[in-house]
């Protein structure tokens, strides 16, 4: 009888201890992701972050001083890419992640430059480390960190910014100048701050390199007819159409360009042309468009051994290729945090900052290293030296990496009517 009682007690203890053991599991590390989820640069970042977190959790989680902690992702819609939504709304979203969702780290946005710059003070106030991965291209972000390191040391950016992007474009254009003899460019940009600034920057840079910028047109958001500008570019003999637009309607520009068979090659920063669905959406009229995806890995390419693994994992989880700017960098940021936390052996901010500053490993789009002063990812044309860009050209329905030369998988093709 006694044996039966002891056996029963033993069974009860085992049954009760199992759930207790589960409950006693380490507290998850909460990653807050403030993103404009209704827009490409928001939803692709969300998918990248969730993919990385799933992979890490499946492998057992993050090893914090010998204890395995899982990652928990909290996404909040900042709506900061929607017209008319004030910056304050994005800040409230970030604060909600920190105060209500108890985020240990911030990854992703805010996506709009103005909102991200304003959020820096908030991150500093709450001593929360943030890795900016999408949207924001302004050099003002890294400049502010360098100028006031003590205050803004919590802010990092693992994505590229305007100056290196322009350097990439200029190198590509110089190559076209040498190989094809191109020397006339026509700039068409959207009437938003970053696009106007990008257009002006290119105008100046091209003029300094002896290119003739025959005109620059600024289009209001929502424009679907670019005929006058395109006809004008043809009359003025432009060989390059430099575009900087983040509105979906800009796909219409390429349709008109293709219909008119203009003797110019379109290239630039164009949201509509980033997504894998662009080809179908334009009925192939966007062929030959050269797009800067800001970071490598946002389209299939063999940049590092990890790039195609990421692409395949993304396809498996989400059913399509990485979609555009913000995908690979958001994925990478979670791994960067994991690496830093494991080396710091804590989630405490100062220790993780030091670990991020000394970080050096091969990621999806090259060597992942932050500049110690600006906390900006170090850019390079060689993946062994730094993070490389994702410059692609649409060729026969595929996004083909054409720059930088060390990771290029194809050459620039010209439309048949240009030959």
């Amino acid at each position: 009888m006694k044996k039966l009682i002891y056996f029963s007690i033993g069974i009860i203890v085992v049954l009760f201890c199992a759930p207790i053991a589960t409950f006693a599991q380490e507290k998850p590390i909460v990653i807050g992701a403030p993103l404009a989820t209704a827009f490409l640069y928001g939803w692709d970042a969300e998918r990248g972050i969730k993919l990385a977190a799933d992979e890490i959790n499946t492998a057992g989680g993050v090893n914090v001083a010998g204890k395995k902690r899982l990652l928990k992702i909290e996404v909040i819609d900042t709506r900061d890419l929607e017209p008319g939504v004030p910056v304050a709304d994005a800040l409230l979203a970030v604060e909600k992640l920190i105060l209500e969702k108890k985020a240990d780290f911030i990854v992703g946005g805010p996506v709009r430059s103005e909102a991200a710059l304003a959020a820096m003070d908030l991150l500093s106030k709450h001593k929360k480390i943030s890795i900016l991965t999408t949207g924001v291209l302004t050099p003002a972000y890294s400049k502010r960190i360098a100028e006031n390191y003590g205050k803004y040391k919590y802010c990092f950016r693992n994505s590229s910014e305007v100056p290196p992007m322009m350097g990439d474009f200029m190198a590509l254009l110089e190559d076209l100048h040498k190989t094809k003899g191109f020397n006339k460019a026509y700039i068409m940009v959207q009437d938003v701050a970053h696009a106007r600034a990008g257009g002006e920057y290119m105008k100046k840079a091209l003029s300094e390199k002896k290119w003739e910028v025959v005109d620059m047109k600024i289009y209001p958001t929502g424009t679907t007819d670019y005929s006058q500008g395109l006809i004008d570019s043809g009359k003025k003999g432009a060989q390059i159409l430099f575009l900087w637009m983040d509105m979906p309607e800009s796909a219409a520009l390429l349709q008109q360009w293709s219909n008119m068979k203009l003797k110019s090659l379109p290239m630039g920063f164009m949201n509509a042309a980033e997504q894998p669905g662009f080809w179908k959406a334009t009925g192939g009229k966007g062929e030959y468009m050269i797009v800067n995806l800001v970071n490598g890995g946002n389209a299939p390419a063999k940049i590092t051994p990890w790039t195609m693994k990421f692409v395949e994992a993304y396809k498996k989880k989400w059913g399509l290729e990485p979609e555009g700017y913000g995908t690979s960098s958001s994925y990478m940021a979670v791994y960067q945090l994991k690496d830093a936390i494991e080396r710091a052996k804590t989630t405490e901010s100062d220790a993780v900052i030091a670990a991020l500053e000394s970080q050096d490993f091969m990621g999806v789009y090259g060597r992942m290293r932050f500049d110690k002063k600006t906390h900006q990812i170090i850019h390079s044309w060689d993946p062994k030296e730094g993070a490389v860009t994702g410059m692609i050209q649409w060729q026969a329905g595929k996004r083909v990496q054409i720059f930088p030369p060390k990771v290029a998988e194809g050459k620039i093709l010209l439309p048949p009517w240009m030959k």
Partner: protein
């Protein structure tokens, strides 16, 4: 020459955008602020039929989408507007709220990004007096003119059309002759919404099906109607040509980024000089001013 050709195209596009809005206002006296939302809804329904049902015929998808939009318009009147009819502020709030709910609902439901497009009816372009014009734009001009003609014939020689005009001219007198005011309003909402959908089918192949386009279409429709005179068919067409050419001229000789400003500036000028619009019949408004 490109200014004349693209000026005409742009003008026809604007008048197609505004046609449904004008029709509803001229007959039911309802400013349908859900007009832009119905425009996008038609495009989205067509896209779904074409992309989710393999091999679905394009013309059938178009017909179904326009019919569904027309039914939605009729239902909006039958279940919502009928209760606030005659109270213009309430009508504006109700229709704007419906439009907002539809557009943001579509966004929430997945209408995001630049991959939602409709194929052009005919791909390619042609040189017209030395100016390259794509076939879709030429079709828009042709179909637009035919649409205006059909609407004229419908409202002048068809019993339903004559009833609609009767209500538009004098509602009480028309009711005394046995014309059902509410039924006429339902029909006008259905036709107006169908026209918004018809415009969408013609114009969306030039761009993308995105929520923001719905808001833009509403702005342009209002601009055209305010300048032409609310409820005036002739005014709508004339105002479309004024704004259409003004935009093209602005783009050619001033700067492209003032295109949108042109329409808004024209509204302000019209309201200052002739508040009822070029062919507006709201004399009392002029007298008050």
């Amino acid at each position: 020459m490109e200014i004349i050709i693209y000026g005409i195209i742009n003008s026809i596009i604007l008048s197609l955008m505004a046609l449904g809005f004008t029709l509803v206002y001229s007959i039911a006296r309802v400013p349908n602020f859900a007009h832009g939302a119905l425009y996008i809804t038609t495009g989205y329904i067509t896209w779904i039929l074409l992309n989710k049902l393999t091999g679905f015929p394009y013309p059938l998808a178009i017909a179904i989408a326009i019919c569904v939009t027309a039914v939605i318009g009729a239902l909006i009147y039958r279940f919502i507007l009928i209760r606030v009819r005659g109270m213009e502020i309430s009508e504006i709030i109700a229709t704007y709220a419906i439009g907002l709910a539809i557009l943001e609902g579509l966004r929430w439901g997945g209408l995001r990004g630049g991959t939602f497009t409709l194929p052009p009816f005919i791909s390619g372009s042609v040189q017209l007096f030395g100016v390259s014009v794509d076939y879709q734009r030429l079709l828009i001009v042709g179909i637009g003119i035919v649409t205006f003609a059909c609407l004229y014939l419908f409202t002048h020689f068809n019993r339903v059309g004559l009833a609609l005009r009767g209500i538009a001219q004098d509602e009480r007198a028309a009711m005394m002759l046995g014309i059902d005011s509410d039924m006429t309003a339902i029909v006008s909402l259905a036709i107006g919404s169908g026209l918004a959908g018809f415009a969408a089918i013609l114009l969306l192949p030039l761009g993308n099906i995105i929520v923001e386009v719905g808001y833009n279409v509403l702005i342009f429709a209002i601009a055209v109607c305010v300048i032409g005179g609310l409820g005036s068919w002739g005014g709508t067409i004339l105002a479309s040509f004024i704004i259409g050419f003004a935009q093209i001229l602005t783009e050619a000789f001033l700067s492209t980024h003032y295109q949108m400003v042109v329409a808004l500036f024209a509204i302000i000028i019209t309201l200052l000089i002739k508040p009822s619009g070029i062919f507006g019949k709201q004399k009392e408004l002029e007298e008050r001013v």
